[in-house]
């Protein structure tokens, strides 16, 4: 049995449609952001990932998550 980690996943903007806003989800150790993106089923073909953050810092899709991390996913957003 591989060791499991808890990751708080937060979705924003268009990703929230028909999906959760925030959820604590379990993954196997060393899961990378890309796998979690796929697991949430957010529509990245229609709205590609704009920004990914782990604990409030920008990361790329290959970033491996640790237990207790918060992963935030945004499509391209802007304003001013």
């Amino acid at each position: 049995m591989p060791e499991m980690i808890d990751v708080t996943v937060k979705l924003f903007a268009q990703y929230r449609k028909d999906n959760f806003k925030v959820e604590v989800r379990s993954y196997v150790q060393n899961t990378i952001a890309r796998d979690i993106i796929a697991d949430t089923g957010i529509p990245i073909e229609r709205f590609p990932i704009g920004v990914l953050m782990v604990n409030g810092r920008h990361v790329d899709e290959n970033h491996a998550l640790n237990h207790g991390d918060t992963l935030s996913m945004f499509p391209k957003v802007g304003g001013g």
Binding site: F12, K21, V51, R57, G78
Partner: protein
């Protein structure tokens, strides 16, 4: 007929038309207003005295079919910062000015008889100035109604409410948008300058004008097509802004730890979910309202909206991130509808969202109000500010002055102007813009948030110093140039990421005037504008010691990343090495 300069002298209520000097021919918008202010206004003058001037100038592309080209610039010496100011806004005035052939409208002097206020009406080749005692003491929506009744629904209107009449530093100049709502020349206390000249309202005739002429209509159309496509296909300007408005930023800035909260004590707000753009869009959908609305006719992005209460009654329009952040996160109101009510009241009074909201944060720090008490903020605005009571005057004097009056050290201002919705400690490139822009703390002067947080134009780590000065410099140069075209700043998103966007913009300018600007020319224009403005500020007494972020940010670590402002003076001052 070539474009002209319209000059009004309030000393004797006279008007004349002047030729545009050759060297000003290629200027528009901010390039025009800053050039004229620098040439004609004594940098040492009192901003509310007879020697300050107001200069309106439409953008180079205003009045054409170019998408998003309807921004009008207003320049003056700011009574809030003591430096030069340019503030641009949508609405209908830019296009009409351009169609009337007004390259700039310069207003100088102060009437000898200051017992009343005046209504200025601009038509083709004429300006009339008449006393309007019936409008004195009225706020913006009433003035708007009176003007629509007097003229027609298309007339452009620029007006001040009671705070502007009283020359309060939080007052702005409101401009009618195509649907009869208001936008504003928001920052720097320009409403007070209009009040000092005893001008209550300026209207611009929308009936008798000629269409703007294009040197090369075919080329212009082709370029506009490419440009419009770039705006529509960009995920931010084409999808995000129409769907959620600018308020989509609450969550991403909060997640990044850069959302100034409780008077800049933290970079996270407990209220984020309550006040965020996603929640606002849900409310709009459930209550009937609209997520899309353009602040001027040619806008293809439509970041504005109409927001109703839970019974479907209109609450606010142009309900922006800055307003919602200032009252929601920074002053702590966790009720979006109440913030919308305050927004509408502030539109009517004509006070700046950022300066006023941040003023309430500092007032809470000083014990005048309590954080999060939205009802009291509403009351103070409606009763005290509107009537100019001593408490109203205190709030109306802006963030920096309240801090002084109440002995507050945590006062978020640069050049006495309130810092907007992005924390300098946690979004360092934006901090460099606040410190260095000649405008005082202003996010639109060089929107480093794009590259620090939003992954637009690449990515530069917001918590590190590397690359930030260069980023802020490049963005400020580009913004100064874009502010001269009449384009809204959200053109920046496609411009940063789509290589077709900027060349198309330059092609349009060339096709409009029959000239051959290159990208380098445009960059040089931006540099010249910045230097002109900087020079004015130096002469006005704003030196490098004023290009600074408030001291408390150097020793108070900002949660959640626990970062301080750590640039040396030399690092900041290197901004001007160009």
């Amino acid at each position: 007929m070539a474009d002209k300069i319209y000059r009004v002298n309030m000393n004797d209520l006279s008007f004349k038309i002047e030729e545009v000097p050759q060297e000003w021919m290629g200027l528009g918008g901010r390039g025009m207003t800053s050039t004229i202010v620098a040439a004609e206004v004594d940098p040492e003058c009192h901003p509310l005295g007879p020697n300050n001037k107001m200069v309106f100038a439409p953008g180079l592309l205003s009045g054409t079919i170019a998408a998003n080209s309807g921004r009008n610039s207003l320049g003056a010496k700011s009574p809030l910062t003591g430096g030069i100011k340019e503030s641009n806004v949508g609405g209908t005035s830019a296009a009409i000015f351009a169609k009337l052939g007004v390259k700039a409208l310069i207003i100088e002097g102060i009437p000898e008889d200051d017992s009343t206020f005046y209504h200025m009406h601009v038509t083709r080749e004429n300006v009339t100035i008449e006393a309007c005692p019936e409008l004195v003491g009225k706020d913006n929506f009433e003035v708007l109604d009176a003007m629509e009744e007097k003229y027609n629904k298309k007339v452009a209107v620029m007006t001040i409410g009671r705070p502007g009449e009283m020359k309060m530093l939080i007052s702005n100049i409101s401009v009618r948008d195509p649907k009869g709502k208001l936008r504003s020349h928001g920052r720097g206390g320009l409403g007070a300058v209009m009040g000092s000249k005893k001008i209550k309202v300026i209207t611009v005739d929308a009936e008798k004008y000629k269409e703007t002429e294009l040197a090369d209509p075919t080329k212009f159309k082709a370029a506009n097509k490419v440009f419009t496509k770039a705006l529509k296909e960009n995920p931010i300007s084409g999808e995000g802004l129409p769907a959620f408005g600018t308020n989509v930023l609450v969550n991403i800035i909060n997640e990044a730890g850069g959302l100034p909260s409780m008077n800049f004590r933290s970079g996270n707000s407990e209220n984020a979910e309550e006040i965020c753009g996603e929640h606002m869009a849900e409310n709009i959908e459930a209550r009937g309202g609209s997520t899309t609305h353009g602040c001027h006719a040619g806008c293809v992005i439509q970041c504005s909206q109409t927001y109703n209460d839970d019974e479907g009654n209109y609450l606010a329009s142009g309900f922006e991130y800055e307003m919602i952040w200032a009252f929601g996160a920074n002053y702590g109101i966790n009720d979006l509808d109440l913030i919308a009510k305050i927004d509408h009241l502030m539109d009517d009074l004509g006070v700046d969202a950022i300066e006023t909201g941040v003023a309430f944060g500092v007032a809470a720090e000083g014990g005048l109000v309590e954080f999060g008490d939205g009802e009291e903020a509403y009351r103070i605005l409606a009763e005290e500010v509107a009537n100019g009571t001593p408490i109203g005057r205190i709030i109306g004097s802006g963030t920096g002055n309240i801090g002084k009056l109440y002995g507050v050290v945590r006062v978020p201002v640069v050049k006495n102007q309130a810092i907007p919705a992005y924390e300098p400690r946690a979004i360092k490139g934006q901090g460099i813009t606040y410190a260095t822009t000649p405008m005082g703390a202003d996010h639109t002067a060089g929107y480093a948030v794009a590259t620090n947080i939003l992954n637009s134009g690449g990515y530069i780590d917001p918590l590190k110093k590397e690359g930030q000065v260069e980023l802020a410099r490049n963005l400020q140069i580009a913004s100064a140039a874009v502010d001269s075209t009449g384009m809204c700043i959200f053109v920046a998103f496609p411009a940063l990421d789509d290589p077709a966007c900027l060349p198309a913009l330059i092609d349009m300018i060339n096709a409009r005037f029959g000239i051959n600007l290159t990208g380098d020319d445009v960059t040089n224009l931006g540099k010249t504008i910045l230097k002109t403005e900087h020079e004015f500020n130096l002469k006005a007494g704003l030196g490098s010691a004023d290009d600074r972020i408030p001291e408390f940010m150097k020793y108070e670590p900002l949660p959640p990343h626990n970062v301080v402002w750590d640039f040396t003076n030399e690092e900041i001052d290197a901004f001007w090495d160009f």
